[in-house]
Symmetry: C2
Subunit: 320 residues, 2 copies
Amino acid sequence: MEVAKFFDTAPDLKDRVLINEKLKEFVKRHSHMRGESEMCERRIVCITSGGTTVPLEQRCVRYIDNFSSGHRGAASTEYFLKAGYAVIFLHRRGTCQPYCRFLPNDPLLECFESIDQGGSIIRPVQSQADAVTNAIMDHHTAIETGLLLKLQFTTVFEYLQILQMIGVALTELGPHAMFYLAAAVSDFYVPWESMAEHKIQSGGGPLNMHLVQVPKMLSVLRKDWAPQAFCISFKLETDVDILLQKASAALEKYNMHAVVANELETRKEEVTIVTPDEKTCIRRDKADARSDVESPLVKLLVKMHTAYILKNVQSQGASN
Amino acid sequence: MEVAKFFDTAPDLKDRVLINEKLKEFVKRHSHMRGESEMCERRIVCITSGGTTVPLEQRCVRYIDNFSSGHRGAASTEYFLKAGYAVIFLHRRGTCQPYCRFLPNDPLLECFESIDQGGSIIRPVQSQADAVTNAIMDHHTAIETGLLLKLQFTTVFEYLQILQMIGVALTELGPHAMFYLAAAVSDFYVPWESMAEHKIQSGGGPLNMHLVQVPKMLSVLRKDWAPQAFCISFKLETDVDILLQKASAALEKYNMHAVVANELETRKEEVTIVTPDEKTCIRRDKADARSDVESPLVKLLVKMHTAYILKNVQSQGASN
């Protein structure tokens, strides 16, 4: 009910047709790359990244935003590609892109210099030359080999509408599909119909805002959109005392296969993978300045996904 | 009272010392460039650009944001530099930069290609080569000639604290200083002390938020920080019926020298300059696809600033 109402009252998704075409083409191409055995089939992971916004006005001037740089999603995309996955990178416009993590925020102005030798030439500054060249080359390779599909969102309405489309598109992959839900999704929103059409006026003293909860779509993803897919969600808290308890609750409530628990201050150093059976703390290698927590995290999740596929294939075999 | 409380309870501004040093050095350098007559003195304009955020939690995960791409501020910076002004570009992190308006959102990944000829080389794609090269060259020239100082903000706390520092630093320029306040500043905020320390929990049903008005700092800027500076503020509305009336009210209430009224839908096509004496509609030249409304807008404001300086110099002369 709540879910149907959310989608019914959400503003129309622009580019719905185009997004659907891209998705179908991507899934079709990779479903054709089937190997000899079930285990060799191409796996597709949908990685969500960055924060969603909630408009406070229909002609949007003000909105509530969820902080997320998108570094986690971008780094994880690189490691899943390396592990042989095809990746749908569903990210917030303007957030960190795969292979661009080590560049400054404004690489064009900070990493290039101009030299004027008869004509005007630009080139990467020496200190950034490798980082810039690698970012451009690796990113283009991922796109050109057809292994990376990038889709963008800004609002929570766009995010959930596209996520639903991806869920449905990946259904046919069964357990070979994975969702890695690293995006910071708004918990509260103002229903479109009850939203002010025009800019809220500031003359009338203090402002009281009434927000309602965004329906918990994780349950719907698991139950209806892609019931066989391997689903990982993330739980971010600032209060470490309640973090693991909240992660365990989410695991059970939304029937996830694992929840990655991370605390705002230490999220780049360590995370804990919470499953029904155990809690595994993953830390980055502090001896290596360029190491990150996403590399061991993705490695472990790929292993868990392999085990999940095997179990599903066996149980299907048994039931045949 | 309200103003003092806002600043007293705001979180400390990081880099305060560094920002102050940069400001002092910039103002000192340009104050030394005085010409023969008062009219030839270097003018400095502070251009504010992009939207401010209001954190909803002390360890900030969620915040309210004001939409603004920063195109207006970036374009205006180019035209003020062309008119001979030194520019302090106080902008929201990540928004549009001067000379970069005609580039795609992610120029590094969208404007470059890699060619592998023995070694790896990157170069701008042909269709974007001129835009990319000009952006980098023009931007570097503005920085290297010392005419452009870039300062960044994210929250409304940072914005107002830096604006105050700029106001005080520009006092000594008297009427040769100008404020061009194009930033979209939050009207409402949650006072730091009454803010939740940790992430707001979503378990407890709907969320009611109580926000109070941000004190109207334009009055303080005019009265206390830089009383002789020429001050232009902007009024954005989505409802054209109340736009001019709101602009006139702001002109009087904050004692601005002019208010630029713009409507969300048409803001790239036309604006109206509202002064105590008249309302002047400025339109971009539709016959030229590359034209913009900022070019004629800045031209007219520079003229008005010249007249303002002249009037001030004459009245000072008369009172001496």
